[in-house]
């Protein structure tokens, strides 16, 4: 040990080589600049920021204790929320499956259909549920229909994209075998494609239902039905203890939904 120490002297140890370090510094510098720009340019009244913990604390204090008096109404609204999520998920299936069929490279009838399918998927996925809700409330007026349509239009992209990927990943050999028997395209789909994508289909629908429960809790904030309507009402009337009850109810619903999907997933797949 002692003998070696002189030989090791003066050696420099570095974690990264020159090029790597250059890239790291440039990335770091750019990040710092973006951060500086974001902090200095943003339209925030800074004294409010330092006061924010107090404000949040006092809001929390005003919520305590939760007021259970409106529980009947809240449960009814929760049921409405679940109905919206469930009906929308069910309706999604009817639209998403044909779209995924034309948006999958191996089943699409022609290139025009392929691009139409992809366009529908991208359009559906890029617009958030609540923005869809805004649009449908403007068209059909406030209420559950707007909510169902909003959830459905957002889900089409999600389910369609994942189903399309599932269709593209099937084993092609059974398809070939069905063609060799002289089966028409519809029969080939029914025998060689449908059985192969069934497990993926159930998994995707269950996953989306779980997400839709969460999403449908906010629809009411733009007037599209569900628990959000009474949440908005309670906030507008500063009924903070009621707000607290509603929040607890939402958590319970979401956790319940998660538990149910967990059981379903184990049962079905």
């Amino acid at each position: 040990m002692v003998d070696n120490s002189s030989a090791a002297q003066g050696r420099v140890w570095q974690r990264y080589d020159g090029r790597q370090r250059l890239i790291r510094y440039v990335v770091l510098l750019l990040s710092m600049m973006v951060l500086y720009w974001a902090v200095s340019d943003i339209d925030i009244f800074w004294p409010w920021v330092w006061d924010a913990p107090n404000q949040i604390g006092s809001l929390g204090a005003r919520m305590w204790p939760p007021d259970p008096s409106g529980l009947g109404e809240i449960v009814a609204a929760l049921l409405e929320t679940v109905h919206i999520a469930t009906l929308a998920t069910a309706l999604t299936i009817f639209v998403a499956l044909p779209v995924s069929y034309i948006a999958a490279q191996n089943t699409t009838p022609n290139r025009a259909c392929l691009w139409l399918g992809r366009f529908i998927l991208v359009a559906s996925r890029s617009v958030n549920t609540i923005i869809w809700a805004l649009l449908f409330v403007a068209i059909f007026g406030p209420g559950v229909l707007a909510g169902i349509l909003a959830i459905m239009f957002r889900s089409i992209g999600f389910v369609g994209k994942l189903m399309g990927e599932a269709i593209e990943e099937i084993d092609r050999r059974p398809v070939e075998a069905m063609q060799a028997t002289g089966a028409s395209k519809a029969k080939v789909i029914a025998y060689a494609v449908v059985p192969q994508v069934m497990p993926a289909f159930f998994a995707i629908i269950i996953l989306r239902w779980d997400i839709n429960i969460r999403e449908s809790t906010v629809l009411g904030l733009v007037g599209a039905g569900g628990i959000g309507v009474i949440l908005q009402g309670a906030i507008d009337t500063f009924a903070w203890p009621t707000v607290a009850t509603i929040l607890i109810a939402i958590i319970t619903l979401v956790l319940l939904g998660e538990a149910i999907t967990g059981v379903l997933r184990r049962k079905v797949i």
Binding site: I42, D43, A52, V127, G141, I251
Partner: protein
Amino acid sequence: MTRSSSPSSATVRRTWHKPPFIANPWLRYGLWLVVAAYLVWALGTLPFNWERIAEGLPRAARIFGGGFPPSFDRADLLFTGFKESLQIAILATLLGVLLSIPFAVMAARNLAPRPVYLLGRGVIIVSRSFHPVIVAILFVAAVGFGPLAGILTLTLYSIGFVGKLLAEEIEEIDWGQVEAMKATGAGYFATLVYAVFPQILPRQVGLSMYQLDSNLRASAVVGIVGAGGIGGTLMNAFGRYDYDFAFAILLVIIAVILVSEGVSGWVRKQIW
């Protein structure tokens, strides 16, 4: 196998039906009954306002008629809204990703003592259960309208998402490295920094990029309840029946989301 092997041996007429998906007939028909009953119940109790809905088609025609062509006359308003959304997303991602680390350590079963673990898990579960828009409306009520509420909302949102995945990552780390650090006499924080963080860092950087993308998406909607950004501009345009401007905003939102998805995917590919 015991039958004689000639095709004529099957003289008895045998029938075959596809074995049902659910073997128990009671359960099978019961399930259909449940579905039918549910549909009747759900559709019967939901308050559809059919008169208002009937007006829908002419209204849709008016909205889409008024919306095309989208108008970019107020491009400066559009630009300001997007700039604010981007700033909210960046700051919230930074805060969220940094804060998610302590929460992830707290919520990792193998690193945290039981009470701390339960606290960490609790924070993550609560922040994941609430849709960001609900959180936003509460923060708007607490700290007022504007981007501050948006940043707080998305920070919490990021803690929930990144914290959960990171905690799972920590629970799966190679424990041998931790033991090796402990064997050198390192303390708790030195062990974290040398044995735990290097193992989760690549994942954390990837998650941050993913979270930046998803915060940008979410920042477009939290504005709808007044938490700053382009969502507020969109809400105003809708409220004033300014459909051509609203559609312009929508188009830009879609474009920005597609670009951000592409960039985030590219960066993640570079890192992994």
